[in-house]
Symmetry: C2
Amino acid sequence: MSGWVVIAGLGPGDEALVTPEVTAALSEATDIVGYIPYVRRIAPREGLRLHESDNRVELDRSRHALEMAAEGRRVVVVSSGDPGVFAMASAVFEAVEAGPSEWRALEIRVLPGITAMLAAAARAGAPLGHDFCAINLSDNLKPWSLIEKRLRLAAEADFAMGFYNPRSKSRPEGFGRALDVLREVCEPERVIIFARAVSTPKEALRVVHLCDATPDMADMRTVVLVGSSLTRIIEREGADPWVYTPRSVPA
Amino acid sequence: MSGWVVIAGLGPGDEALVTPEVTAALSEATDIVGYIPYVRRIAPREGLRLHESDNRVELDRSRHALEMAAEGRRVVVVSSGDPGVFAMASAVFEAVEAGPSEWRALEIRVLPGITAMLAAAARAGAPLGHDFCAINLSDNLKPWSLIEKRLRLAAEADFAMGFYNPRSKSRPEGFGRALDVLREVCEPERVIIFARAVSTPKEALRVVHLCDATPDMADMRTVVLVGSSLTRIIEREGADPWVYTPRSVPA
């Protein structure tokens, strides 16, 4: 078998954030598989087949990619950000484990990318500059009680945090509940960053304190960063503030 | 002032993991500042000054970069991985906050990179495919009691985890204590990945269960990944296993 599957991270949007490793894999591919807006980031060329699919069909898409690789095709499954962070890599391995044993002999490689949380942090300064966690706030694939438990324990541990999928039209309530959990554990001045569409023309950053944060500040294109208790804001004249979390925690 | 400071992530080692954005900044720089092994990754060229400094002088290095930028130089502070993850970005903003107010008017940009934890995860499969946290196990800049508290709460939250700086010659004991904390909370079969020097010629990955993990499996070039309770190993004939954390948590 000479086919392969590469699961590649396209980063948050800007082509200057796509690694040369991913660019090389795309140039060798015969087939691109992925969610519609990510496949549309790939320039068409002769001999390259583009397979767009809708959201929430990750396992079907994974099986399709694996079947094509088993037939000798060179398939790139595209994710935004990093494929290992709330993206396609887990779905492909779920499909492998549940699939025919021949799929375990395939060449499958995951190529990392710049994940939204770290792109957003870089824009704001260094808010994740100490221990941090990443939580997907969607309860499509896990119970809300687990999200709430993780939020509470992460706040007690004084992690900085990055929230993916904070809010969507089909889940308008969850993010407000997440803010309520934070308010139970954290001080009102806790720093919150709403980072929307980072590295795209629609990029917008907003830095607020927890007491001023409202659910409508987030949508499905927003990553929310929450500072630790030590996170600081550096105010600047005529420019957005910088936010950073110090490297040291006093004893 | 036409000078600037860019804090750039060089990724874990492989040049194919350096983003085009970082490459462009390096080509415009007049000065490169950083820890010796990272500065040595930059190709010398006419007109480019390379300023190597030792470990543990991050604030001096930051001030030096800011001073040069204030004089009109174009300075790139290089970090391995992502500069916002246990690297130079926080140090630069600490120096800004404590420094002269003119520094707040400087152009300072953070350019994200592929951080070691996500590069290691990509090599193993998708072990961080669900909620996860990142903890620096060095107690140089924080009390050990805080590390232990965070480990315990993260394990109770059932996060997957990435540990940076698990063990060094000057701190031989900490990582064994971290494993002891995990053993108190997690089942013996919990999946642990020791990922050394990922993306370099010396790369080595080792997948074990918590009950078989020993402190000597980590050194200062190792990132340690810990699965959640749901993380799975896909065994393969004649090849390293794949490790992934499913996207779903049953109610």
